[in-house]
């Protein structure tokens, strides 16, 4: 068989990691037999490669279909998901947890910050200086009123950054799942 077709099969095989060797062999064998059938139908190597598409997409289609359609979460499925996401991009393994943790934490911190600022001012008015709440920038402390202002500014900034991250996370997940839908089509 043509070298380029062999290379194609090798690539698909490589991307199918996560599946058992038996399954991979079976898949490769079927694609190989299809290639021969296509050659018998007078398709040239370029046409065959064009029809089969990117080897990555081919492997993704196998992995994607198994992941989305098999029920339950088995060890095998987890292995396939790892395979799938390693194709989708390591980005997913970084972006989702990082944004997923940072975004709510920032929103929460922002809210706490603003509440603390108000507590400081209220405490001052009631005669308790609330010494556990203070703003310290480069060794300078601030009056309760200034503390409130700084708290509000920082709090709002934290919340805005948190919300942007949350939107980014949602956008990312949607993009990845659109990819998955496309695979199933």
């Amino acid at each position: 068989m043509d070298k380029r077709l062999e290379v194609y099969l090798e690539k698909v095989n490589k991307y199918l990691k996560g599946m058992t060797i038996d399954e991979r062999e079976d898949i490769i064998k079927e694609i190989r037999s299809t290639m021969v059938d296509m050659q018998d139908d007078d398709l040239v190597v370029d046409q065959i490669l064009e029809r089969l598409g990117d080897p990555k997409d081919m492997a993704k289609a196998y992995l994607g279909d198994m992941i989305t359609k098999t029920e339950g979460l088995s060890f095998k499925k987890v292995m396939m998901m790892i395979g799938y996401y390693s194709i989708v991009g390591i980005s997913g393994m970084m972006i989702i947890p990082v944004l997923g943790i940072m975004s709510p934490t920032l929103i929460l911190s922002g809210a706490v910050c603003i509440i603390a600022g108000f507590l400081k001012v209220i405490g001052e008015a009631l005669g308790d200086d609330m010494s556990f709440i203070m703003v310290n920038i480069a060794g300078n402390s601030f009056s309760p009123f200034m503390t409130l202002i700084i708290c509000i500014i920082c709090g709002i900034a934290f919340i805005i950054i948190g919300v942007i991250m949350w939107k980014g996370l949602k956008y990312y997940i949607e993009k990845v799942s659109v990819g998955k839908k496309y695979i199933k089509a």
Binding site: I27, S33, M38, G53, M58, K69, A185
Partner: protein, 110 residues
Amino acid sequence: MDLEKWRSQIMRGTLEYCILLMLQKDTAYGYEILQRLSNYPLLSSSESTVYPLLRRLLKEGYLSSMWQETTEGAPPRKYYTITDTGKEYIKLLDKDWDTLNKTINELKGE
């Protein structure tokens, strides 16, 4: 008007039904199934769509498969056959399909 999206969505749901119907008539190998599908403009699909789908239908027990040697020394072919479970499954799909047809006709006012 973007028909592509609508078509790909119908396809997604019906391709499996069509392949099962095709295999109910007779056993076929992957490339053969693809060739037959390509006779129908709406159903024409790529290897990367059909093969994983066949694989899933196998896993779900609706199909069985067998590697068969070819005569001229070419690599063996994987033949797909419908199982009894598959036939039962088709009956259920038939019902849904009929209902859908009736519903659409009713909505069209026929």
